[in-house]
Symmetry: D3
Subunit: 280 residues, 6 copies
């Protein structure tokens, strides 16, 4: 008969899926708050540990909130409740809800953010754009692979738009609507550091988020307006896609170990933009 | 009878308008290419020294291209034509067209990028968000001031949208459409470094460009969804607004000194995005 | 009729006594945990935020624990309960007890650690060994002053021993028992950085804690076995002396502002040493 | 027939016992003063190159003083006699007495400071706490091993006290007198950098010197008052133990090479503390 | 029938002779100006890209100037013509003359600056003083080898003087005219960083340029006036020797690939000194 | 009746002439070896503390050697006699001869190296090229002034050559023999850091030592072969000129204070070059 796991039991299962060794050196992943011997019946998944999400998880009686983004990426010497980060720490501890971060380890892992995006787009033979130094060849940041059938950039952008959760800002594209694309590079979240890798990998189009004027402009100039074209998506939306898969995977690992938990994915849109005005 | 100025004569006039001492310490402003004794009959203004713009200026027979963004912000040890920056250097020198950068000095100056935006929005009693260390109180990065009459955020966003040149991505807004706003902070270009300054200055809304997920999300969390609301505009569009005013001001200073030149503002949209798909 | 202050009210009173601007640049002082709008009826004072002290404060129902030493001197990216620091954060928040640090600001302030020690020893005309950069001449680290009447070093050491709370390690002395001392320098806590200042100030004897072999040996060699002699006291004991005075001062300021609180000083000895074997 | 060695001959023998490659990267070991072709008839050993020791060695007509601690750990641009270090250089050179430092190489070597302490305490199967990077497994800082028979902490502390040369401060202990200890970690001199290594190695008790409040307090909190307990000994005393063994070992190596020297160990107590007042 | 190569074809040939991987990490070698698809009929070689040399190359209609010294060793953010470096960039681009630097890769390569000097001096079995980290054992900075027959230092200096192009400052020698020398170390250009390497390699004499007072004085003191003696030659002259060999080698590689070019070596003396007054 | 001063008395007099506050921040000036209470009857002056100079001073029974160059510019952790610097320390201490360095303080002082050179050349109204930050306007590095009557560069170079002590390398000149020069900048020792200062000060010619290829070449290119011309002199010779004046000045100050000493200037040429071969 399945039993309720302790927080430590859940951490062990999470480590199997998203090993800490896959995290980038600058990152801060792992357990942020909580007692390792506390029982965990409900696990909540979200992209951002913002106040609405913390409220949602605590209100639902979750014993653990797993987010993609770290609450305390840079070290703090205070968690007093006067800042939103300190408020989150207080609310979580008061509610007995632990907080776990799976950030760049969640990006690079097999079945992580980038793998899920590649699968949803139907990419074949995809591999990391930047493999991890010590790890499997399937592990690393970004992915590159091929569509089974090429199509015009405009059509492909519509497909991307259709797959992602709807956010106000939508999807921005740099390139010719009619250009044919088949080889696709992608990086969930903010991927400007992989613009060169996508070009060198021969991508027809590169999908990522948070592209600012200068990196995008230089990338377009470097290829004289040619390939790879760019698709700028919502940082949040690109990472949200991973949550259902992550929840299911953790549930399965725990179940295999004889534990029973309830998993849930946050429905809150934490993309910061509420509405948009466009020329169309 | 008016005479044709030398490049040095034009540099002297530009220095009066956008003094180099106003540039940030990390910036690289001033003359990038050209001979100071060459006569300058036509002056071309643009935001970005990208290939289409260089082509436009050289094709028009300009003797000087003035851009907001530096071509060589980080030092280079080669200008060979195999990179787009080296290609620009070759094309400019071969065409006898000089290149001058007025970047953060063009932002901070009286009559600069931020002043022009503030005027177009009708802000009253505006002053810099971050005054320069040694200079006039009117000089510095960003501006904050008040609308003569407050209005709902949605209406104000429409006004911003209407003033800026049309680009694919339009204008993104974080906040409640119906919230009343009157006190407006702004920073042309990429202004995430002034998010705290805008809040501390008591702004109802802050307009800038290139806002990524984390700075925007943290800014929204810091104020628990309240003021200042955020309006994210095109980096390019926000800076393009300055060009006609800058061209006119330089023309006037040269004219006052007895020189005659022809000034022109580039009509090329160098915002990197070509089209957008939004939920609306 | 006196009322119960909020945590913010207490912070305001503490700021008057031990201003944050007096803290050294490397220090981390101020509020570490707690909600600023919570009412505070009981305030607990201690030197170290160790587990026994946290337990004592929470067990007594304190709303605020004020310690001299910071819990999080170096920034942390996690407060999970598996470390003693994270455990303290959890215990405090779960108990609704805030934590405030008054460290080097508590050393340098008028009426702070060093002033209390100087007064207890009866030093006259004492002043800081290292005055703060911007502040009153009475503010700074360490103190130097004169005994009303000089005495042999051995007798003076006995007086120091008699004043301090009893700890296992007692008081260690370097110098000649019969040498006459009158001019006394001191620094609560670990004061090896002020050994030179004490010598240059013409001290006959310097009292501080945590003196290791090399700093002490070099200080003795520098003066060829002469003055200043050294008295090494317990780091904890030298700082504990301040607690009753600090509690009384805060109580008085709050009372002057119309607030009523209960103050208490921890009786737990947090000097790490339990027993000692000496030749005597 | 045995002959008198040159200084270089003695350096060669010392290198065999305490190889320079065993020194830590920040250390400054080797010959500090002296002429390599000078004959050496008497060799004096001491912990600290302080003035009384230099006087003792020169007064005894030694041709070489070997100390554990470096005279010039940080580089100097002057050796004028106005500082005690410059005075030592002058006195040594004027007396024709060379100075050799065997510091962390003397700690880590087989038969070095830590080995001697481990042997005197009767530890079995002891090995380094922090093995050197390139070297034998027996070489490194600190040692950990087991007593043939466990005993209460109080009894063990008495044994430590009884073995070490008598100094004013004696021996301080953190832990329960009656707790049973068998697995012992130790580090001669100041070993706070190995507190974690001692815990991870499963020590019941860790012996070292110069433990200050914060490292000791954090180490006790980390283990919730449990094992390893701490015994803080005199930095000087813990290193002095090595001198007789070192003198004998060097004498033997020189003898094996056909040289005859006279070796002597300084009897001067260079622990800085002269007397102590304790509660007992 | 031989054809005219493009600049890229010439770069490919140069890479075979002086691979970029041989350059020191701080160096800036490779193409500095020019279009890779331009045809190159004439190639000009020189040590320094100074104005007279640029004028000579452009005046002769060269399509490529290859210099040993970099024009832009430290990165620049402007190439405006008001500096001599910017003037050179303008003159070269306006004349359609590319610029290629072969600096430390030209020193270390087989057949490079140091090899040519060693051959001209008749050194046997010579090898690098500082071999490259990853490369052939014949590649690296400096050379050391033996004269077939030794000779007095004065005679050898005359031979060095006779081989090098004549410059005003001539050749300076530190050492005894009559001392016998056979083992010779050398480094073209400024080789003070290899003074120790030459001594450790057992050289009787070390030839290099730009030796200042302190390095030369310390090198002489280190050997108590003995070997290696020093011969200080003109930085320019020592590197000019390489030009004819480099021109011939490049011509041959291009010819082997079916290309025809005209190569020329600059006759301009770019040693900065015009005349000298000596005691003789 | 005049008395023999102690070393401290001499240091006090030297401080009046060449205050330590005038030394550059990177420099290491002041007393390097010796006992401050030792009597000083003979004082020896030299440029370099090399072995021959130390031998000369000790052989002459000097109680103090004053050199321009520091023996220990970079800190050392050993003074063993196996290096020439350690040998010098041993020889000096064994002979009871102290060592004092007056380096950049000796350059910048009124009556220092640069002033002496300016006076010997007959410069009028000379002032420092780089005044000290806090000091008199007459104090600083380098000097610039005017000859009473201008003359051709060739004639002026001959005058420089005639004034300086004869060394093998002589004097090297960059510029036109017949060009008229009147405004003269100079810097004793190695003055490449003041090349720009000399140009900006409007010098016709700049005299200094140790000019290497690149600084000299760039300085000549910067002025398109025009003014300032360069005269490169022996580092040693340019500084030796100061010694007689320094000896006389110190003698006078001591005499004014009632002390009698014997002063001597070393006649050893410590320029490293023994002979030269030139085209002439």
């Amino acid at each position: 008969m399945p039993t309720t796991p302790s927080l430590q039991d859940v951490l062990d299962a999470a480590e199997e899926l998203w090993p800490r060794t896959l995290a980038e050196s600058w990152d801060a992943v792992g357990l942020v708050a909580g007692r390792r011997d506390a029982p965990v019946q409900k696990i909540h998944f979200a992209v951002d540990p913002v106040s609405a999400v913390v409220e949602e998880a605590c209100g639902a009686g979750a014993g653990l909130l797993i987010t993609h983004h770290p609450l305390l990426l840079r070290g703090v010497t205070s968690v007093e409740a006067g800042t939103f980060k300190g408020e989150a720490v207080h609310r979580l501890i008061e509610s007995g809800c632990a907080l776990l971060t799976a950030h760049t380890n969640g990006d690079s892992a097999v079945g992580g953010v980038n793998d899920v995006l590649a699968e949803l787009l139907g990419l074949q033979d995809h591999e990391p754009l930047k493999p991890v130094d010590d790890g499997l060849p399937e592990e690393g940041l970004g992915r590159i692979g091929a569509l089974p059938q090429g199509m015009p950039l405009g059509e492909f952008a519509s497909r991307v738009f259709g797959i992602l959760p709807s956010v106000a800002g939508g999807v921005r594209v740099a390139g010719d609507r009619d250009a044919f694309v088949q080889r696709v590079a992608l990086c969930g979240g903010a991927g400007d550091s992989l613009l060169d890798a996508a070009r060198h990998a021969g991508a027809d189009v590169y999908i990522t988020g948070d592209l600012r004027h200068h990196p995008a402009s230089e990338a377009r100039e470097n290829v004289r307006g040619g390939r790879p074209y760019l698709i700028d998506v919502s940082h949040f939306a690109s990472e949200w896609m991973w949550l259902p898969a992550a929840a299911q995977a953790l549930d399965r690992v725990l179940s295999d170990r004889g534990y029973e938990v309830e998993v849930a994915v946050s429905g809150i849109n934490t993309d910061p933009w509420d509405f948009v005005l466009t020329p169309g």
